[in-house]
Amino acid sequence: MYALVTLLSAWAIPVLIVFIPLYAAYRKVPVYESFVEGAKEGFDTAIKIIPHLVGMMVAISIFRASGALELTLGWLKPLFQAFGVPSEVLPLAILRPITGAGSLAFTTDLIAQFGPDSLIGRIASTVQGSTDTTLYVITVYFGAIGIRKAGYALKVGLISDVVGFIASIIICLLVFSS
């Protein structure tokens, strides 16, 4: 299963890049002109995201650099220990939805410190791999189309992050602790 999926992932993009233009040419689409026409939109879209992403990154950067993040984590620690969860993985619950690069760095650090095959390393890997950075996704996707009122989208994203985090821990405890 694993080998099959990695193989599929490796082939997917090269095959798409060849197959789409080939099929289009067969359907008599002027492929190069089509490509350029679509590609034109790419630049504007990326530029439109800048204000949104800069705004979000500034706030996150201040929050982290000031030590406010660590302080918040310190308060939450006893709560975690009460549930019998290794408290080392706790920062991930906060970091994961906020910053992709930050939580990846933290996960790598945990793996380096406790080993990839420790329970902590496995939980961290599962948490990191099972979800995307909610705040980044919302900023980029809604920023690109100028949505200012995100409605309930952020709540949905954050709730599913919490569910995913708890699920990751429970699953790892069940699978790996025996």
Partner: protein
């Protein structure tokens, strides 16, 4: 809610560094953050230009509508508000497929394109439509079959079985995606019962 989170990050950051007598950290962090925001967007330019070009070819060739037809039952369940044969459906399907295969840099442009198509259907251009919220929920939960980055990191640190987390990750991501879909449904229903514009 975004407004509050944003304000919370900045204000608590300021207070904490002020109390620690380290207020200049705020200035440094603000400009570092701004810089990385721009850097990330610049990194997105190449990916967006390339994939939007390829996807336009696919759209002109009628491939996207084919994909949408193929996966119609799933889409009809998740996005009942989108008219059938609308181009948004093809982009949504491409976005989901790219996510599942772990092709992050292809998934983002396709998702953005799908959002742009959904925006055309959106009566209020400032507020997210229910379909947009659903698409966002699917992307934040992000079903991925193989977490390639993590396997690579685990390999780096000499794991006995770097891929052993594939199963746990898949199960966890399935659960969080199911949660995202359910919570999204719940909010959508609540919103249609009591129409409100509060964010």
């Amino acid at each position: 809610m975004v407004n509050w989170i944003w304000l919370f990050f900045i204000v608590t950051g300021f207070i904490v560094s002020a109390v620690q007598g380290n207020v200049e950290a705020v200035t440094q962090a603000a400009f570092d953050g701004a810089k990385s925001g721009v850097t990330v967007c610049f990194g997105l330019i190449s990916v967006l230009v390339f994939w939007l070009g390829i996807m336009r070819i696919a759209e002109d060739a009628g491939l996207l509508s084919k994909l949408a037809v193929l996966l119609r039952p799933v889409v009809r369940f998740l996005f009942p508000s989108i008219p059938k044969d609308h181009p948004a459906l093809g982009y949504i399907m491409s976005n989901m497929s790219a996510n599942i295969l772990g092709l992050g840099n292809a998934a983002t442009p396709m998702g953005i394109k799908a959002m742009q198509e959904l925006q055309k259907l959106n009566p209020d251009k400032d507020s997210a439509s229910p379909a947009m919220c659903t698409l966002l929920a699917l992307n934040t939960a992000s079903i991925t079959l193989i977490p390639t980055t993590l396997i690579a990191i685990r390999m780096n640190y000499n794991s006995v079985n770097p891929a052993e987390i594939v199963g746990t990750t898949l199960l966890a991501t399935a659960i969080s995606t199911a949660a995202a879909i359910l919570v999204d449904r719940w909010y959508r229903r609540k919103q249609t019962l009591i129409p409100t514009t509060r964010g």
